[in-house]
Symmetry: C2
Subunit: 485 residues, 2 copies
């Protein structure tokens, strides 16, 4: 079976979401060639099409990270086991998933090296050397890197033994400034997800049980997938002075006192590609928002034997006239039919398709087809250079609005526990409800429904009139519940 | 000792090159805050200033890699030991420097995982699944990644246990096409080094003894450092069908025959930052070519108490007028003197300094000082926006020419072995000479002088009239010798 026939079958072989959502997800990923399984437990190969999405994510997020005053750096992949074990909660959280290097160049290592699961400990050990005075603060450093967490069960992009991410690590002279930074980066993530990924998110605080191992407080952005499950899409941690005390990161303040710094860390990973697939994808495959699509516009000539040269020439002329910042592909392959190309580019989620055939040439127009809605539109030739960028903008905007509408339709306010359980067992979406603050209730809800508290959106202690969904007691916390990936 | 005083001493504390070149190199790296030592054997932390250079290298090289038709992808960090051992020469070359993961999440692994020292084997195992037909070729994939080689003795940027690089891996249907690709990427590297890094290189072929473990032929670019030693700055390998046979990468060709693909791989690493330091640096610190300098222009106000506000306002006005693509910093810190700032930015190698004081304001001019030559120039205010970009261009050009002149002055043609030995024992630079092709002569030269054959620049088999430097026999190979890092 040669490549051509194989690809044809790929398009057909996407399992409908209603039939088997997990299989649909894997089908889309494999058939759009975003990823492939590697011959190493839980590791993935990010193929060029998937990596091109990540490059766009990286470029657009890196820009925001730099605009908020951060610089990139690079810290070692390996962390001596002793260093990783210094912060008690941190080691408890990460020890079960650490990969250990025990041999280097045919020698047994005296101390095993952990492959970084996250870099707080190695970075803090450097910060304690670099920071002496209040003049050295704030330290605002970010790192783009691969990290490894030895996962028992994995799922492409969402949970893999190795993944790529950015991790910001900052030091501040006051508690207030650290909290401001934590919330600032949460807001950067929220704005990035909505503007570029067209994914609306709920931003809030994690519960004690769900917070980062070693943090004082963890904030999160939570997105809703089209199967009603939530996906944690980025986190921002106020680390307080936990790590500063353990790693002895002190500074001489303006008042001549030696103080511990206040720290934050925050990260977004390749996981967001999973969100992109599950928020926007449909039964025909991927649907990509223009801002992160590797190809934003594909031009497909409708060729007849007689008019092949004219059509190809004309379509290339038009391509040359379009704004140069549009990521454009002219699919002039002769060995595939136009219909086959339509299917393939739809599966790959290209936001806009432009068709040009002999009849369109006669009528001096192009046909534009939107991937997100399927809407067709005839564009008079003289309007093409204006209309195409405008259409891309509309698609980006409409995709966010559609995702927002879906989320609103799949978010319920609820006070009755039985109703809540039924909703969650069917995984219908978010529930906004109240919680008393007890770990027992959190646990009970998870046991009964598999749902977790995704985040606390507002803590108005002492407010009356609301009751905990699980125990019925007075509940000061307004939270979002959902089943989650 | 607070930060301010510490930094002051940093500037003074650079060891002169003539006194101790190795110490000078380390001083510059630490004091310009390019890098710091990590608490892991042979690993380094690339600090923000060093990483910003690398980001420029990466951006400028990535552009060229994409313009020549390659796409980026990402393959796993871990390679099962068995996979790495498949290609016999390859394993022999890399086994002694492999770091092994033997435990994951508290379980002993059935098969240890190598931390990639290079990715041929993992990538080839994927290519054998992806490639079926001639239509799938060529495969042109590049990866930006960290790799680990367990080195016995290390040196910042030049040889570290972990480093960052790009590695291209391509598959072709014919031997000719693979050889063309190998040479094309060598030329991309040469042009990149000269245009952006202002570093002239000698491009040629490695000897059998020095070629990549598993390659058919290895090509290299070799740069000359200011201490007379060579630095291999990039390599491009024609892998022939070595890996294709072992990993069974076959394709059905147009003639319906099943054939093995022809492959190449090529890489450039953070090592080139070492070249940048040693080619251009001087006793005052770094000297960076504008194309890769994190800050291209630093503006320093000369402030008197009376005229502080006016000068600061004026300098910010001018900064706003300069072309936006210039990477510019206005150093308006009040706690440091202008002289202190001059020293610091010189140490950091910023190509151009612009000074503005009350007297300059009166005379409606700026003073520009070049880092590479120390030349001062008064620029009339109305010419600033034109003259500054022009000066940056001149600096870039002049730096390449100066490096080229140095290399020419430190390259000798030689036929006499005693003279050659004297030259090499003093590490005076390159020798262009002739070689008979025997491994014994190569070995003898290394034993006698520590010099190696850096590359064969031309193989005119059968040409007479030249004799091997070591044995005096007929020598068909024109080669470059040098001591090397």
């Amino acid at each position: 079976m040669d490549k051509k026939n194989k690809d044809k079958e790929f398009v057909k072989e996407i399992t409908p979401r209603a039939q088997d959502y997990s299989q649909w997800y894997v089908d889309v990923i494999l058939k759009a060639e975003l990823m492939d399984y590697a011959p190493i437990k839980g590791c993935m190969v990010i193929r060029p099409y998937g990596y091109a999405i990540w490059e766009n994510v990286q470029r657009l997020l890196d820009k925001r990270i730099k605009e908020t005053g951060h610089e990139n750096a690079y810290f070692p992949l390996f962390i001596p086991q002793g260093l990783l074990q210094k912060e008690a909660e941190h080691v408890e959280g990460f020890a079960p998933e650490v990969a250990l290097v025990t041999r280097g160049g045919d020698e047994e290592l005296a101390e095993p090296l952990a492959v970084r699961p996250t870099s707080e400990s190695i970075i803090c050990s450097m910060y304690s050397r670099w920071i002496q005075s209040w003049r050295d603060l704030p330290v605002l450093i970010n790192q783009w890197a691969n990290v490894v967490r030895w996962e028992k069960s994995t799922r492409p992009f969402l949970r893999t033994s190795e993944f790529i991410w950015q991790e910001g690590h900052t030091c501040h002279s006051t508690e207030e400034e650290a909290e401001q930074e934590t919330l600032k980066m949460l807001e950067v993530y929220r704005e990035f997800m909505e503007t570029e990924m067209a994914i609306p998110v709920i931003a809030g605080q994690k519960t004690e049980k769900e917070k980062f191992a070693g943090a004082l407080r963890t904030y999160t952005i939570e997105a809703l997938m089209s199967d009603g499950k939530a996906l944690q899409s980025g986190t921002s941690h106020n680390l307080g002075q936990h790590f500063a005390r353990v790693f002895d990161i002190t500074f001489l303040d303006q008042d001549d006192e030696l103080k511990y710094v206040w720290q934050t860390s925050w990260g977004v990973s390749t996981r967001v590609i999973g969100a992109l697939i599950m928020v926007h994808g449909d039964d025909r495959g991927l649907v990509l928002p223009p801002a992160v699509a590797p190809t934003q516009v594909v031009m497909v000539p409708i060729i007849t034997k007689k008019q092949r040269e004219e059509v190809l020439e004309k379509i290339n002329d038009i391509a040359g006239l379009l704004p140069h910042d549009i990521r454009l592909k002219v699919d002039d392959r002769l060995e595939y039919t136009a219909g086959w190309k339509f299917n393939q580019w739809e599966m790959k989620g290209v936001p806009l398709r432009l068709e040009l055939g002999p009849r369109d040439m006669e009528n001096n127009r192009l046909v534009a087809v939107r991937r997100d809605t399927g809407d067709k539109e005839e564009i008079p030739m003289e309007e093409v250079t204006k209309r195409v960028p405008a259409l891309l903008k509309e698609i980006q905007q409409d995709m966010l609005e559609r995702a927002l509408k879906f989320r609103e339709e799949h978010t319920a306010e609820m006070e009755d526990y039985n109703e809540f359980c039924g909703y969650m067992l069917e995984s219908k979406g978010f529930v906004q409800g109240y919680w008393c603050g007890s770990g027992n209730c959190e646990e009970k809800i998870k046991d009964d429904t598999k749902a977790t508290i995704r985040c606390i959106i507002n803590s108005h202690n002492g407010e009356v009139g609301h009751n905990c969904l699980a125990c019925g007691e007075k509940a000061p916390y307004c939270v979002y519940f959902a089943r989650a990936y």
